[in-house]
Symmetry: C2
């Protein structure tokens, strides 16, 4: 290997150094030069059916491994991932969007190059809205420092960034200066100390403190610190939908998922009767917390996020979440006595009754006992996600769902990203039929790269989450024979499931069939839904802006 | 029907008044109120598998019927159509993007509503880059005039617009004032006269004038005027890829498609040896004109567009293209003698040889003779489009292809839009296998709404257009059994085609099978390509920014 760096080789090496091993995308002529460099690099190129699939896969990859990347062509590729990048922004997933683009010289000479929208910087302006940092690598003098700056922002803020590479710059040699010392993320010492002491005093004085562990603990690598804090303090802990499995769900101090009126009543009561809520890295968003059916009292809360720390009604800025949580884990917190807390009920394996129609409740009970230590559950928004909340996840961070931004069609391509990042895990994908029709054919990519997720299609003949809000023909979809998709793809195993015994048989077969994907088309009554969804839609139907 | 208007009923009525009969989209909770109003209106809701399909369908619908519309939910829906809206912008297709959004009251109270990206106006800011007019209907006092203004801009500029409807405004009553008089699009009289006289003098003095008829003639409804101008002057006319079929291709003065070195050599020679090029509504873009292999001399050109008129090296502004072309059609232009011009060769039906492998050349020869008076050809970018250029289209505006922006995956959902707009036409869709994998499953929507396009998948095992530029494993895709898709969808007829006799049989069957779609999986040698593509990729490979 020679030592001459080009703009693209510098970028590729930096991605590798930050742990990226796979890059997702669809090639296009403005990006072909980068693709060739990628193919000759240590990264593996995963080309998906459509750019949207690449975007969701990279988002999932970033969630589980700390940084994800996509490479696409100018506009016709880049603008197809506007939505997936928006989701990564909203849910703090650090995805590097690398876009090929017209060469700097071409731009001067030719105003009407293909794929151009309005001006040459139209795509850049769109991504300025959807990322925390952008750059166009149009100058070899600054390219290396720009790459460092932008990748640094992705890692710092856990959000997507945008790097545009004009195609005549791809192979331009650069002379990387010594990389700048990592810009240390410094808390202000006095602020940190004051916030910490106030927190310790409040917790130690409280009768019934409760921790709500949010998804930022996972994004910022603080799960170990959380465990230490739990060990030392013996305080009970809940999670949220978005952060479900941030702590192993069999932990003795674990209450379950707190989600207002949507969740288990005992969890709601326990949490809402606390006199000291310790919210660590929680998104206080609507779907994540049961669509405002929660009654969390900020006047009793210590609310720690990557942006600021709020104690009751005052705030501390310039305190890094890592510093604060680490200090808390090591602080002088008094240990509580063991007390009766409402742990989640252990999974029960129901006995299948031959000929019994599968219900949503039965399906999720059965799936709950099906989960193994190597299962990662990926839930698409909709009842797939709401019903999944009551499953018991064995490992840490092995439940993935876009519970805040809630973009349909995430789960199947996400399983691609997850299994490439963690080949030891087998994804169990829970997806509605409407969402499956958006991106489910990325099973094609899953076959190509020899992965083996189990896909459960919750087939209730349309947009079941919407029917209780406002129903109409627009909530119907054309019905597919999902179990026959293996015939199109020449791989995989399909199951058409209506009864409990058919489900039992399919799960047992799926466990054995590890060569490729399995798809379970589970026919459900269109009016059957989980209890959580029942509660949610009743609340939501009050505010859809239409009286009927 | 009562006379109380709401914001949404006013909007829906205006769309209807402008000729919109179908609206595409995917419902989502912020848009459900609008969907309910749409279902109760005279518009038919066409919900697609994914928003991307809706965007492409509406673009095609707008191209053929003058205005198209999509309705989607906030961010998770809207940002999925960023790319299709960009294409509509780039190629001048007037699509109205209607997005549901959080209510004005919700925004005040709740900062973390689901689907939000950065700020509540993130989606608006993205669409400001991709449209000619935007509005948020947050005020009943101005809602009607805002709707008028924005729809007016779509019709005026033939480009997409964006209308955001907060969900608490959907049913708010409005009192529409008398609509303002249509803002007449006025040319400056003196400028028009001077430009016209100069043009007439140049044309009458020229030895060998040639017209190149561009796509704006179709967008601005000037095809009738073009025919009058041709009749009167007897000047020969060529089209471009983007405007192919703007004039019936059997017209005696028609030369064919001018596309530089990519096209028929006789057309190139004839056009480039002209001493007076009359470019009417042409996009001087790269792919549209053979990737800069053209040698059009602007010093000999009269170049008329909706933005300005250029004669040789000076320009006239404030002249509307409609006024100018109409005046030209009525002007005192001397009539030319008939001369020998290189008309396109008439289609020849080749005799199939049993067992002969189908080649690209054979396929397109055969398809050319297959076209009927009711066939609309829809070509996806790639060799599907380049090879299709030499087909002879019977009707006017019955060839649709995104030849400038060239976004893959357009053709299948476009056929949905086209056939709903013009039920008397039967689409012949030409699509590469890579592009089909992006959006081809919108066949599901085609089945649901009882349409019957014929889909020809050019199956060359990957991104054939890219292989001659830079090849690698990234140009391969997983192979699907496309002919078995009818088994998934429970409708349609599939054909697996390798030989000339199999193609013959399939086309005859497809002609008879009009109940639903037909899909022809035509296996081609991965190294086989049309002559046009051969020339294009040779030119392109010189500038991909990578030496190999």
């Amino acid at each position: 290997m020679n030592n001459v760096h080009t703009i693209s080789s510098y970028l590729i090496n930096k991605l590798y150094a930050h742990g990226v091993r796979h890059i997702f995308g669809v090639p296009g002529d403005y990006a072909l030069g980068i693709y060739k460099e990628l193919e000759n690099s240590r990264l593996e190129v995963i080309n998906t059916c459509d750019e949207q699939g690449a975007g969701f896969a990279a988002d999932a990859y970033a969630r589980i491994s700390g940084l994800g990347a996509i490479c696409i062509t100018y506009c016709v590729g880049g603008l197809k991932v506007a939505n997936t990048t928006a989701q990564a922004f909203a849910e703090k997933s650090p995805v590097v969007v690398i876009s090929g683009a017209p060469g700097i010289n071409e731009r001067r000479k030719n105003p009407l190059l293909h794929h151009k929208v309005r001006d040459f910087d139209t795509q850049l302006k769109v991504f300025e809205q959807l990322t925390v940092a952008t750059t166009v690598l149009d100058d070899p003098q600054t390219a290396c420092s720009e790459i460092d700056r932008v990748l640094g922002a992705a890692l710092r803020y856990k959000r997507p960034v945008y790097i545009e590479v004009p195609r005549d710059m791809i192979s331009v040699p650069v002379n990387p200066s010594r990389p700048p010392p990592e810009t240390a993320r410094m808390s202000d010492g006095n602020t940190l100390q004051e916030a910490l002491h106030e927190t310790i005093d409040i917790i130690n004085a409280a009768d019934k403190p409760v921790i709500i562990a949010g998804v930022e603990l996972h994004r910022f690598g603080l799960q170990e610190m959380l465990l230490r804090f739990l060990d030392k303090s013996n305080i009970p802990v809940a999670s949220t939908i978005l952060s479900k499995s941030v702590i192993v769900e069999t932990h003795p101090q674990y209450l379950g998922v707190y989600e207002g009126a949507m969740g288990r009543e005992e969890v709601r009561e326990y949490v809402e009767s606390s006199d000291c809520l310790i919210l660590l890295g929680v998104f206080l968003s609507d779907v994540n917390l049961g669509i405002f059916t929660d009654h969390l009292d900020l006047g009793k809360s210590i609310y720690v996020t990557s942006e600021k720390i709020s104690i009751h009604y005052h705030t501390y800025e310039d305190v890094e979440i890592e510093d604060f949580v680490r200090a808390l884990a090591e602080a002088d917190i008094r240990r509580r006595e063991d007390s009766d807390i409402p742990n989640p009920p252990p999974p029960q394996s129901p006995d299948p009754v031959t000929g019994n129609q599968v219900t949503v409740r039965y399906l999720f009970q059965r799936l709950n006992s099906f989960l193994g230590d190597d299962t990662v559950v990926i839930a698409d928004p909709g009842d797939a996600m709401f019903a999944a909340v009551d499953m018991t996840i064995h490992g840490a961070a092995e439940f993935i769902s876009p519970a805040y931004y809630t973009s349909l069609g995430f789960a199947v391509p996400a399983s691609l990203g997850i299994q490439l990042a963690k080949p030891a895990l087998r994804p169990l994908v829970l997806v509605g039929d409407g969402a499956f029709q958006m991106t489910g054919m990325e099973l094609s990519t899953i076959v190509r790269f020899h992965l083996n997720p189990i896909i459960v299609v919750l087939n209730n003949q349309g947009y079941g989450t919407e029917r209780p809000m406002v129903d109409g023909r627009f909530n119907d979809i054309h019905l597919w024979n999902y179990s026959r998709i293996p015939e199109i793809l020449g791989a995989g195993k399909g199951f058409d499931i209506r009864t409990e015994d058919q489900l039992e048989n399919a799960l047992q077969e799926a466990q054995k069939h590890t060569d490729s994907f399995c798809i379970l088309d589970v026919h459900l009554d269109p009016n059957d839904r989980s209890l959580a969804l029942e509660r949610l839609t009743t609340t939501l139907s009050k505010r859809i802006g239409h009286n009927n």
